[in-house]
């Protein structure tokens, strides 16, 4: 019981904790994705701003008339110098306001090179026409081209990392290309931007160009050495995406935003497990709480077992003892709650059962006694003696017919009174029994006695205790009629009244005085009243009550000098019960 209970609680607890752990984890994951997305969006936006502003600058310079003049028209050398100076002043002014641009240069297709500042010296070792940005500009007919990040070695002793925009300037009047414009973006702007991004402890942002070169990567050297790999091919193949990579560094979430103008892709790599809440830490917190609650659960179930299951078990054990017939046992549960009440009620119940059992035992004993009494009633030796005396007397007188009648009646009387040992018989049989008895008595008393049996035949199937009418009739004869001077008359009647059967034995004998009647009624149940006639009446009453209950039995109605009426109340039972 305690184990089942504990198991149930533990299982429920585990399920609840597991579900809430998963829910929290998912929420953290979703949060971190959202966060990475927002961050990536803002980085991409800023990088795009740089690209746009470079592009704007290039577009602006492409319309500068001085630049076209310098590279196309033939001027005297002095004028050319003045023009060159003016362009440089112009470019210097632009550059002063632009911290993002580190170099502006114009490279004429005939080989003339101009920097935004005259003091800058061309790196003599560099072959301009072999530079990637220069070749790209020539190939893309007037459109701005963005390079990947690289070291700009155009100026002597300067090696800045830049992103270059190059654009072929075309003389629109003749449709002839004249020069390449180079605008270098300070690379450390992008570097600082991407490096300062905080995507958890290990997350980072990197940028690839359209062919898969890393424009920026915080571990660029490590990636180029092959110590760290990025899924470049997958990145290039997809337009916009979010995917997960699971390798020995753990679960990584890649999300990407394309920069269309430059053809780049900005990628954020985040580690969902370390954003927000550490998964292992979360797990530990949940485990700790889980163990605490588990402990409380086990403790609680022990208390429950101790306070509820234990006394119930004690009660059950006691019931087993009671089942085996020991009614003297009592449970000791000294508690004021429901369990205590249960114990008390149980004790009361056992006590009641014990008492009832005692009563049943007593009743059974009484029944057996009454059976014995019925047996006694069957063979009243005086009656038998008197009857046989009459038979002898009639035989001597040679009244053969009467002898036959009397002996036949006597035989019937005894057959019915034996009635196969049954105690309960039908009213029909009982009436037949008393009829035989009256036949015999009529023969003996002749004119002194008259009788009438009026019991309606519809009452015959109902049940009754046997030999109840005969003792009453016997009483009526010996105590009523025998002492009366008038002719005695006995009426046996019966009726169905309020669902009960009433049998009546009436006589017109001497009757009883109220004192005698009261004395007769006073006699307690089960006690003999007087050795003579009382035995029969009380025997009848007692037997009826034993078989059918206390509400049934015998009532006397009598007036001195007018006779007595005895009413027998019986249940209307058609089948033998009990």
């Amino acid at each position: 019981m305690a184990i089942t209970y504990t198991l149930l609680m533990v299982t429920t607890l585990l399920v609840v904790f597991f579900i809430s752990f998963r829910v929290t984890e998912e929420a953290v994951k979703a949060n971190s994705r959202q966060y990475a997305k927002q961050l990536l969006g803002s980085v991409a936006y800023t990088v795009n701003t740089y690209i746009d502003s470079m592009d704007g600058l290039a577009t602006f310079l492409a319309t500068n008339k001085d630049i076209f003049d310098y590279f196309t028209r033939r001027h005297p050398e002095s004028e050319k110098q003045a023009l060159r100076k003016r362009i440089q002043e112009n470019l210097s002014t632009v550059l002063k306001n632009r911290k993002d641009v580190s170099l502006i240069s114009l490279i004429g297709l005939e080989g003339k090179i101009l920097f935004h500042e005259e003091s800058l010296e061309l790196n003599s070792f560099v072959k301009v026409e072999k530079q990637g940005w220069y070749q790209a500009a020539l190939q893309s007919a007037g459109k701005a081209v963005f390079s990947s990040s690289h070291v700009q070695n155009l100026v002597r002793h300067r090696y800045p990392w830049v992103v270059s925009l190059s654009k072929l300037l075309v003389d629109e009047t003749q449709g002839r290309p004249i020069a390449v414009l180079l605008v270098d973006l300070n690379y450390h702007l992008i570097e600082d931007l991407c490096t300062n991004v905080s995507l958890g402890k290990r997350g980072y942002v990197f940028i690839v160009d359209s062919v898969g070169n890393l424009v920026f990567h915080p571990r660029q050297q490590v990636v180029y050495s092959g110590l760290k790999k990025e899924p470049i091919e997958k990145i290039l193949a997809l337009e916009a995406f979010e995917f997960e990579v699971n390798d020995r560094e753990g679960m990584k979430l890649y999300s990407m935003v394309p920069l269309h103008k430059a053809g780049w892709k900005v990628i954020a790599v985040s580690y969902p497990e370390e954003l927000g809440v550490d998964r292992r830490w979360l797990g530990r917190v949940y485990t700790a709480w889980g163990i605490l609650f588990l402990g409380l659960t086990i403790l609680f179930s022990f208390i429950v077992s101790l306070r509820i299951a234990k006394p119930i078990k004690l009660l059950r054990d006691t019931i087993k003892v009671v089942e085996q017939g020991n009614f003297d046992i009592q449970v000791k549960i000294e508690r004021s709650d429901e369990i205590g009440e249960l114990g008390k009620d149980f004790n009361i119940m056992v006590q009641k059962i014990k008492e009832l059992l005692q009563l049943i035992i007593e009743e059974q004993q009484n029944k057996r006694k009454s059976e014995l009494k019925a047996l006694q009633a069957q063979i009243n030796p005086h009656f038998l003696y008197n009857t046989l005396d009459s038979v002898i007397w009639m035989a001597e007188d040679k009244q053969h017919q009467q002898v036959i009648e009397m002996v036949a009646a006597l035989a019937k009387l005894f057959r019915i009174s034996i009635s196969g040992g049954r105690e309960i018989i039908s009213i029909g049989e009982e009436v037949e029994h008393v009829r035989q008895y009256l036949i015999i008595q009529k023969m003996r008393y002749k004119d002194k006695l008259d009788y009438e049996i009026r019991v309606p035949p519809e009452l015959f199937p109902y049940r009754t205790v046997k030999i109840i009418l005969q003792p009453l009739v016997e009483n009526a004869i010996y105590h009523g009629i025998k002492h009366s001077s008038a002719k005695g008359e006995i009426i046996v009647d019966g009726r169905l009244k309020d669902g009960k059967i009433e049998l009546l034995v009436k006589d017109n004998g001497v009757g009883m005085s109220p004192e005698v009647l009261a004395k007769l009624k006073e006699i307690p149940y089960g006690k003999n009243f007087d050795k003579k006639g009382g035995v029969g009446i009380h025997n009848v009453d007692e037997r009826i009550k034993l078989y059918f209950g206390k509400e049934y039995g015998i009532d006397f109605f009598s007036k001195e000098g007018e006779g007595t009426e005895v009413r027998i109340r019986l249940p209307a039972l058609l089948r033998e019960e009990g």
Binding site: W161, Y187, R202, Y224, L294
Partner: protein, 333 residues
């Protein structure tokens, strides 16, 4: 259930659970958030003018962030200060970090300190320069013999095997100096060349390297070329050649890639330089620390590789990333 158990068992269980829960609960607050393990990185020099070590530390920092390690950086100001570095290691041992990463200034004299750290249960990994002990779990470095071979071969291509050459080394006894010199000598020995005329040590001081170069080139005008074995000796030699206006008359093959060296390549003073991958060195050393701390088996030796850079190859995109680490951008303009 016996009557005796009923009263005592829950009591015992409750006590255990209560104590357990309290310990666990306070344990949780103590461990949250989990502290990254401490790692002390001891370099040969913390002098910010020495680009090589600055880039190594860039790699260290990058890896510390990526692998979640709490890194403390220390080291003597001068590479020659072996005693100073020994004391730094002793001090580091007292702080009881999870691991120490060491670039040893002396192959022999740092060995006892490493052994002591090992006895104290501290994981030791060496990088760039090893110690004379089998105890370091891993040695992350350029294969310096191979790097020396590259320098030797480059010089033979420039000056030929019958020329007269000298080696300008940094600190006698340090493993990088020993190995690189051996690599250079192997090349000449294979060719039965007697071009090597001598080895000089600048003790990793720029002024001394400058002085030695100047004195040699003045005293022995027949010297055709110099092989300088590290950044400081290379830069010293560059300055001396520039000042003596011997550009393109004396061949110079150096090591590493400070801005001075890159300018010197552009200017035609430095003909070639053997470049290591310091960023990778720092990064991998810390990566190995992480692996050791998480219980993985690691290799005893990791070669981070080296590349020979000449005037032609210096602007190849793949070499740009090595030659112009982003770290040095501040010194560029």
């Amino acid at each position: 259930m016996r009557r005796g158990n009923v009263s005592t068992l829950p009591l015992i269980l409750f006590s255990i659970l209560f104590i357990g829960s309290v310990v666990l609960f306070f344990g949780i607050s103590a461990i949250s958030p989990p502290e990254p393990p401490n790692v002390i990185v001891i370099v040969k020099t913390v002098n910010p003018a020495i680009a090589f070590w600055q880039v190594v530390l860039e790699g260290v920092q990058a890896a510390a962030k990526e692998f979640d390690l709490a890194v403390t950086i220390d080291g003597p100001f001068d590479e020659i200060d072996v005693e100073g570095q020994i004391q730094i290691v002793e001090k580091a041992i007292q702080k009881r970090p999870a691991a120490i990463v060491l670039g040893a200034t002396d192959y022999y004299r740092l060995a006892p300190s490493v052994e002591k750290a090992h006895r104290e249960g501290i994981q030791v990994i060496t990088f760039d320069s090893d110690v004379n002990s089998t105890l370091p779990l891993c040695f992350v470095a350029t294969d310096n013999v191979e790097a020396g071979r590259k320098a030797g071969k480059a010089m033979i291509e420039l000056a030929g095997d019958s020329s007269s050459l000298i080696i300008l080394s940094h600190v006698k006894g340090t493993s990088t100096a020993i190995d690189r010199e051996r690599g250079v000598r192997e090349v000449f020995e294979q060719l039965n060349s007697h071009a090597l005329k001598g080895v000089y040590y600048c003790d990793n001081f720029f002024d001394k390297a400058y002085q030695i170069t100047q004195e040699i080139l003045t005293a022995y005008p027949w010297v055709d070329g110099i092989i300088a074995l590290n950044e400081v000796s290379t830069v010293g030699a560059i300055q001396a050649i520039r000042d003596l206006k011997l550009k393109r008359k004396v061949f110079l093959v150096g090591f590493d890639h400070s801005m001075d060296e890159i300018k010197a390549i552009d200017d035609g003073i430095l003909d070639a330089t053997v470049v290591q991958k310091p960023f990778n060195m720092g990064y991998i050393a810390l990566q190995k620390v992480k692996e050791v701390l998480s219980g993985a088996e690691i290799e005893r030796y990791i070669d981070t590789g080296s590349v020979l850079i000449t005037r032609e190859s210096m602007y190849y995109p793949e070499n740009q990333k090595i030659l112009f680490p982003f770290a040095s951008k501040k010194g560029v303009e």
